[in-house]
Every structure is written in structure tokens, then in C-alpha cells.
Symmetry: C2
Subunit: 368 residues, 2 copies
């Protein structure tokens, strides 16, 4: 496309001719080489503009072998956790000279497959991906066809030898469930998204193990595992809370799930921390200063973003695809309740991954 | 690059030869033409895969004159308002057959200029942009150089003839300030970001006009106009609240500003709606079900996203660059307080753009 004599788009040769400078000078200007005088830059840019020349990024990248861009495929951009992970990854990548192109799959596996294809054709150097599904054929094909390093966020896809940053959901959920059991709760509802993703499987495994470790039996009827949406969660919480006897504790997996559950409780006139114990898996901004403050199992999105970007940079530099696990933290807060007569647990001690002081105590100290 | 006989990348001709089909058949498969049999698709895809053929999206786009992608430049992706706007725009664009590439400027004007350049070189067909600055030279150059329709989100850039979706901040903030004045407040602090963006200018204009309309004088010392960050807001609220006499009402412009102010009040042991009246400009998720519920001036991010995408599609189809204004809504909630002895205003009646029932009343009705 760039051969000067042919019919077609304006080429770098045309620009050099019009500017009356060498081809190499045009190349230096267009590649933002530091060793270019302002006068030369202006001369070339004026000629390029007069001719309507468009630098051919793809041709440049074929020469250099790199587009210096990394694609970031996000499951749902309106989830603040993902947004912070993406922002932090981008900061790390930018510091290393890479731009990041973000695409949102909006919770739709067909869009996910399409986005993987767009990023592949746009020839990004690598992909960081938060998948909607680990098993959808279109997604799997998209991952297989991509010719460069891939880092998965909190997902497991077998046999493709991809890098991954996993979250230790198990420890945090085990600690939270153990705390609720020690507070006397047995009717503990768990509301979360599809088993098609690792986080759900790990959370459910931890929930069941905590019951087994306490010598108690979970009630399968209190498990509500379907979609990571606010609507699903809201209707499920309304349904669960109308059972008799009703659940005494709710664990909600995912920020939209938590939002839906809070809306449901508000509609039912129930208050977390008074009428029902509440633990959110993943933090919504301002949980720590809401009233009542909400107990949570959190992961640090900045840590996840940094880790993913560094693994990507390492793999772009020829490093091996590895799996890195980041911790989760159970933080007991005011939204926990204790069943009358239960031996009260020492909150916070059960967290196996990181300890965190109860925010309620901090708040009480700050209060005049 | 696509000329069959030359040294270089595998071409569509090579794929046709290997698959034993016509060039036009390969073209139909690669462009996802609906009129292709599964058998033909597999045959071509197998040949393409065996040869390691990479479809040249740029070459395709030069032929069609379109990459069928729109770039979306976001000021701060971790702001949930922008995230929802971007998601909604993307849904609209996708329904029209466009993919959306998102880039985050992270509140940095140098990154903003760089991202504009990356999207330009990637030849997106159009740009939807939420700018960090309306005046930074790098941003302005980036907008000028882009050769396609541009839709600005809530920003004014003169003389470039760009499309824009503006928000009617003025009406909402005027209603909120008028309501606080009617509740007897005079020491009303306004904390928000830079005057370099339209939203701040409009909000300040409305604040001043509401005072003038009530025959009252605002105190310039209670204006804190600097950065749209949580840290700036937190330290400013701590500073303002240690003045004697302290402000009796806070208006916070922007979700991060609101978050910082709530953290500051929590640290100071003050409760919005008890110790100080509080109005948030822009909604944070769950404002309506938080305790106390927070009064706000909100804009609908889904409406903004839809409007921006439709304007973009219209401009891509040859329509003129126009400016569309979407309303804001003042919603009084529990975080408002009334100064003793003040004539209480009829909350909600002052909203000039849209009426909204007080959430407190709804909550009270729902509470058992």
C-alpha cells in the first residue's frame, strides 16, 4: 500500500518529496524520534497535512514487530473493581512505553468473542483478559487464535499455557463463613454468579468447607448461584427472605450482587447488621464509611492490576507464562450480627490471608 | 503488502490457492459475510490457519473507507459515571455494527494527547471524548488533527465545529443551592474540580446566581475549586470544617469529590444530615439506599451514553455536528438539614429540570 508509484494512498515518499527532505527525515519525524529539530518537524508535518498523509501504524508495526499496545478485555466496565484493575494495569504498561486499548464485553459471550477478534486484528502485542466465560467456544477460539502473550484475570483456561493472576477467594470466604458460624448463624444464604467462572467455584468450595470444619451442614436451598447482576440478586434476596424460617445471614458475591441485595433489603425494610448479618464479597467504594459499615471479603484491585501488567511485560520480554495468586482479606464490620446465645467469635482473628482491624472500632474512636 | 508475488506476509491469494477456492470466497469468509456455507467457512479458515494468515484490517478499511470502530477517550475510567456512559455508548454503537476501543487518560493531559494520537493512527472512524482539559495545547492539537467526527462529552472546545453532549448542570445546582438557602443555610461550601472544564464553571455560576436570586451573599472563602480527586476533597473538607464558624452545608462536585468529603466527615465524626447538610453533584451508586440517603444533583449516564452514540452514528452518516443538552435532576434526601428558625422550603418543588420524589419518604413507607 505504501509503494510510491502506485495509485492509492499518499505515501511517506510523497511527503518527503513535497517537504524537500530525505525519506529518513520524514521517518524520524513520524516516529517521534527525539533528535529532530522543530523546524524539520514543522516542515514534514506541513507537507504531511497538505497531502492528507496518514501514518500507517500497521506498516510501522510490521517493521518493528510491535504495535506497543496491549489489549485489555473487560467483562463489565461498570464494575468499579474491574475499572480500577484496568486503570492500574494501564499505568504500569504506560510506564513501560505501552498504550492500552480497552474493550468491554458487557457480560455477553458473543461480544467477548467479537472483541477478542477485533483486538487480534488490531495486532495488539498482548492481551490481559477478564473473561465472562471460561468455557464458551467462541472465547476459547479467540484465545487460541491470538498470537502473543495472554494474561487471564481470575480465570482458569486449561491447556493453552496462558499467564494468570488469580485471587485467593477461598481463604477470605472461608474466614467470613467461619466467623458467621461462630456467631451462631446456620441459615447463611450465598448469592452469586455463574459456576462458569473460577471465583464462584472457589467461593462455594470455601463456604462448604467452613461448614464442614465447624461440623455443621449447609442448606442447599440457601444457595443462589446464577448471574452477576443486580436484578438477579435483588429478586433472589426477596425470594430467600420470604422463606420461613428466613436466612439470618447473607453473603453476596460480586459488587452488582451486593448492590442488588442492599436494594432488596431496603425494599423489604430490613437493615443489614440489625435484621440480618451481611458479608459482601468484593468491596464497593465507601463500604468502610457507610452506615452500617459492611463486612467484606476484599481483594486489592491495584495489586491485581499491577501484577497483571508486570506479568504481561515479563511475558512480552520473553518470560514464561506463570500463575500468580493475590490474597483476599476478610474485614468484619458493623453489618455482622450475633445469634442470641452463640459463643461470640473474636472477629478478625479468623482471617487467614491478612488481618484487618474492624472498621467499627476505628469509627467509634474517631466519633466525638 | 498484499501483493501476492512479493516476499512478505501471507496474502489472501495464498489462502485462496491453498483452500482451492476463489479469491471472492476467501474475502466473503474473512469479512463475515452471511452468505457463506459452514463448509466453505471451515475450508478457508483451515487454510488461513495453516498458513498463519493475518487479515489486514487496515487494508480492508482502506478499501471500505471505514474501520467500523469508534474510539472512546475517557478522563478517568474508575469514575463509575464515565464507566456507565462508556458502556451505554458501546451498546448503541455495537447495535449499529461498530466496535468501540476505549482509552483512559487517567486525569493526565499528556496521556490524553498521547491517546488521541494512538486512536488517530489506529484509524478509528470517530471519537467520543470526555476531556481532562478543554484548553491544553496537546489535547487541542489532537482534536484538530483527527480526521473524522468527534463528539465531546460535557466539554466546550471552540471553533473546531465538534458535536457535543452537554449536561444542564446549571438548573440542578441552582435548585439544590436554592433549597439549602430556603432551609436557612448561608455558609454553604462548594468543593469541586478545575475551572478548566465546563461542569465546574456551570456549577459555580448556578451557585452564585442562586445566592443572588435569594438576595444573599456567598462567601468566597467557602469555595474550594481545585482537583477532581478524593484526596483534594478530603483535605479541603477537613480544612473548611475547622473554620469557625464552620460551614453548615457542603456541596461536592464529582463522585471522587463526594467520596473524599464523606471520608473527611467520617474522620471528623460528623454525620451528613445531622451535623451538616450534604448535597452531592453526580450520583455514586447506592446513594438512594445509603443511611442517611444523600441528596444529589444527578445526570443519567445511560441517557448521556445513548445520546453521544446516536449523535456519533448520525455524524458518521454525514449528519451535522450539533450540541445536545441532557437534563440534571436535584433529588432532596435525608442528608439535608434545616437551620433552626428558617422557613422550611418545599423540597423538590425547586427542581427546574425534573421532579423527583424524596427518597426518604419512599424509604419510610417501605420500612416495617
Amino acid at each position: 500500500m505504501q509503494d510510491g508509484g502506485r495509485e492509492g494512498p499518499v505515501t511517506i515518499r510523497d511527503v518527503a518529496e513535497r517537504a524537500g527532505v530525505a525519506l529518513s527525515s520524514v521517518s524520524r519525524v513520524l516516529s517521534d524520534h527525539p533528535d529532530v529539530s522543530p523546524r524539520m518537524r514543522k516542515r514534514v508535518e506541513d507537507a504531511a497535512e497538505a497531502l492528507g498523509y496518514q501514518p500507517d501504524m500497521l506498516a510501522q508495526s510490521l517493521r518493528s514487530g510491535s504495535t506497543r499496545t496491549v489489549g485489555f478485555l473487560i467483562r463489565d466496565i461498570s464494575n468499579p473493581l474491574f475499572a480500577v484493575i484496568a486503570r492500574r494495569s494501564e499505568q504500569e504498561l504506560r510506564a513501560a512505553g505501552y498504550s492500552m486499548l480497552l474493550m468491554n464485553s458487557d457480560g455477553d459471550i458473543a461480544v467477548e468473542a467479537l472483541n477478542l477478534e477485533v483486538l487480534r486484528r488490531r495486532r495488539v502485542d498482548g492481551l490481559i483478559v477478564s473473561l465472562e466465560s471460561e468455557v464458551a467456544p467462541g472465547t476459547r477460539t479467540g484465545l487460541e487464535r491470538f498470537n502473543g502473550p495472554i494474561v487471564l484475570l481470575d480465570r482458569e483456561v486449561d491447556e493453552l499455557g496462558l499467564g494468570a493472576v488469580l485471587c485467593d477467594h477461598y481463604s477470605g470466604v472461608h474466614a467470613a463463613t467461619t466467623d458467621l458460624l461462630a456467631r451462631g448463624h446456620r441459615k447463611i444464604a450465598l448469592i452469586t454468579g455463574s459456576m462458569d467462572v473460577r471465583s464462584t467455584r472457589e467461593r462455594l468450595r470455601a463456604y462448604r468447607d467452613a461448614f464442614a470444619d465447624a461440623g455443621a451442614d449447609p442448606e442447599d436451598a440457601l444457595l443462589s448461584i446464577g448471574q452477576f447482576t443486580s436484578d438477579f440478586s435483588k429478586s433472589e434476596v426477596i425470594r430467600l427472605m420470604s422463606r420461613r424460617p428466613e436466612p439470618t445471614a447473607l453473603i453476596t458475591g460480586g459488587v452488582l450482587t451486593t448492590a442488588g441485595a442492599i436494594r432488596a433489603l431496603s425494599q423489604l425494610g430490613r437493615t443489614p447488621g440489625e435484621d440480618v448479618a451481611f458479608v459482601a464479597l468484593d468491596e464497593w467504594p465507601l463500604f468502610d464509611v457507610s452506615t452500617p459499615s459492611l463486612a467484606s471479603v476484599a481483594r486489592d484491585p491495584n495489586e491485581i492490576g499491577t501484577t497483571a501488567a508486570r506479568l504481561m511485560l515479563d511475558m512480552l520480554g520473553g518470560g514464561e507464562a506463570t500463575t500468580i495468586t493475590v490474597p483476599t482479606t476478610f474485614t468484619p464490620r458493623e453489618s455482622l450480627t450475633t445469634i442470641r446465645g452463640a459463643r461470640r467469635s473474636a472477629t478478625g482473628r479468623t482471617s487467614t490471608t491478612r488481618t484487618a482491624a474492624p472498621a467499627a472500632a476505628k469509627r467509634a474512636a474517631a466519633k466525638r
